[in-house]
Point group: C4
Chain length 231, copies 4
């Protein structure tokens, strides 16, 4: 186990949970974040059922890609099997986030994809945010549904039917950003439709916005402290 | 009076009121928490009409199971009779919470049960969240309505008609968690239905989720700092 | 000018503005509080257009009951004429609050009274929250509309048509509580009606709840730190 | 480059971003503020994709009126071209703000102007808040749409179709206030219409309110710490 990488990711994954709280994505203990340890078959993930205020880097759990605990005093998140499946099947993924954020989960409860109707959504998701199948917790079904839905899709977020949101990213921070923006656009499009129909953007506009945002936005080169979202 | 237990519960019940504020369940002084003193016929409850910022462990009130003050300088919550009735009739209950949290109270105002339509709701409530009768404050009527509705029901939460939420738990913390999750699912299902019908989960899925959550989630054994909610 | 009373009220009125911010009733500088100096024809009121973060006891303005500045370096709130009219015509009033809190102002924009449909509303308001006439700022018209609507009405809150909320109380703190609870019930009843009709409570239930709350709730005797709202 | 003015504006523009966060107008990095350096063809603007917590006066970017960086270590906001176009074409403008605030962006997603239906809106905007055309980021199109829509219009805010809000002001603080109030009225009118039609104010009332607010509200003379919004 590469101790330095694991220690860094324990701190990073722990700290990123504060963003779930800050942006209103979680209630009580209802969301979790994981990160792949680069170059290994290990992940760092939230312990199950621990309150966000009580999280420490040391309480994070290290598991293999089948969810077996390799290091840590706590049981890992009850969603570990879904995270692990994604890492097994999508080698480009370095971070996974799961929430029940309210507006996005409302779309999931209806089983309705969020249409790509605003430019911020085209920037980050490049498409509608799709719906994945209903699946019970406890085996590989949720993971399979995530991978089947997101493979070949631009969107880093999937609305798992009657359940909530899973997002992926090249690292945990990117997946957290996708979860935050998913709730933001879920809310805006929800509100917009209350008073009338909302047209999706034209596909060529979505393409233009997505390519620009992924390639031009933010600080170039070795600046790791910046990231996108329309600013 | 077992002084150590009472002192511990004064601190715990006082501190838990912060969670009602943090999760947006209360306005001004509109919610209260109580706990049974284990092995006794006593409860510890919020004083009536004291602002959350002004609560101290010493200001908590100790009453018997008929709401008569046994210890404390303040009058107990005006809802004490309802709490006390629940403790008298439901010996397994160690904590009771009452709020007027907005989304849940909106369902209560219509007198409509919240259908069990998302997995987080199946986890925590194992069923719809039921509606109890309209009852006036001041006697045993509210308590009777709570007990009649929750007896034999999986849900630890009841929507008292045109009034608000009461939740029960094995201790005060469990009842607080139920109140927090009740508002969370009340909001998500409310939002979901704004744009179309929402199907309840299949009963066998509700059963599977409920049993797993109650038995597998969180940290096992002597770890009291963890608790459930989908993480 | 009774210096001690004025100094105390400058501190109290200044501090109470924090409650408007805390409960989400105000945006930028859009709400104000005043108090009558007991036994005088003077009031203490917020200065016009000063940000809440910048308010100090010294910045509060003392005016007579026609809004003429008696003491203070700033111009008084642009709503001073409305406050002053209320104090002139309603001698029992010791505090006035004005906000554009969002849910209550939404009812005001439609010109629709909030039906008394939940017990917390019966407790505090004892009736529907009525609508007052549309009136332009700058003279006595707003004050006249408030007084005409609230005279003989149990409700300490009025929804001024297409404008916002005014509340009254025996002192500034009571008027602030009424403004906080007005927004709370405006939100709950708004949410309730989204998914179906909401029946008002029976008049005899409203009466019973109102009389009990006004006479039984909270701490009796010389305890000034407690107040009502369903706890 | 007038160093004192630029340094002052770096601090001011940096600090004003806290108001976007405080009033809930931005998510992750999704909004930006700029100011014109008085008497020059320079502006100070947020760096692209930097988190609000990480902003410092030093990280602000100085560009000319074509968006070319004159001073600063970071790339400027990806919206710089739109800001710069506004400053080129509207010499009276000293500040520009861009957000995707949720309620206002919901109106923008439908392409519907916000009717002037409440007095706070007449005060600040003096008219409906208009919709500007859909335009892609990356050239002058957004800037042209803003200028074409706001020229000769009282409103300092425009809802850019399927995108979000741009506001202008005599300085950055005024533009921030317009962005804050735009979201506030977008929310209130949205909520009002949920339960029935909302009539716009009569034009003569809008005129009277607007003229009074722009000329009477707040502290006169050399008091720069005060500003309007109905207090």
């Amino acid at each position: 186990m590469p101790t330095d990488s694991v220690d860094r990711l324990r701190r990073e994954v722990c700290a990123l949970h504060d963003e779930l709280v800050r942006w209103g994505l979680v209630t009580w203990t209802s969301g979790n974040i994981s990160a792949r340890v680069p170059g290994t078959d290990l992940i760092v993930i939230k312990p199950s059922g621990v309150l966000y205020d009580d999280l420490t880097p040391e309480s994070m759990v290290v598991t293999d890609l089948h969810g077996t605990v390799v290091d840590g005093a706590y049981a890992p998140s009850s969603d570990t099997a879904a995270h692990a499946y994604v890492y097994r099947e999508m080698p480009e993924v370095g971070g996974v986030v799961h929430t029940h954020s309210p507006y996005a989960t409302a779309w999931a409860a209806r089983g309705e994809a969020i249409p790509c109707a605003i430019t911020a959504m085209a920037d980050e998701f490049g498409a509608e945010i799709p719906v994945g199948p209903f699946a019970l917790i406890g085996g590989d079904d949720i993971g399979k549904g995530i991978v089947a839905t997101l493979t070949g899709h631009r969107s880093p977020a999937v609305l798992m039917r009657s359940h909530g949101v899973f997002t992926i990213g090249r690292d945990a921070r990117s997946a957290v950003k996708a979860a935050v923006m998913c709730e933001d656009v879920a809310r805006t499009v929800h509100l917009a439709r209350v008073h009338g129909p909302v047209e999706p953007l034209a596909p060529e506009h979505v393409d233009a916005l997505y390519h620009r945002y992924q390639n031009v936005y933010g600080q170039r080169a070795a600046d790791d402290t910046t990231e996108g979202a329309g600013s």
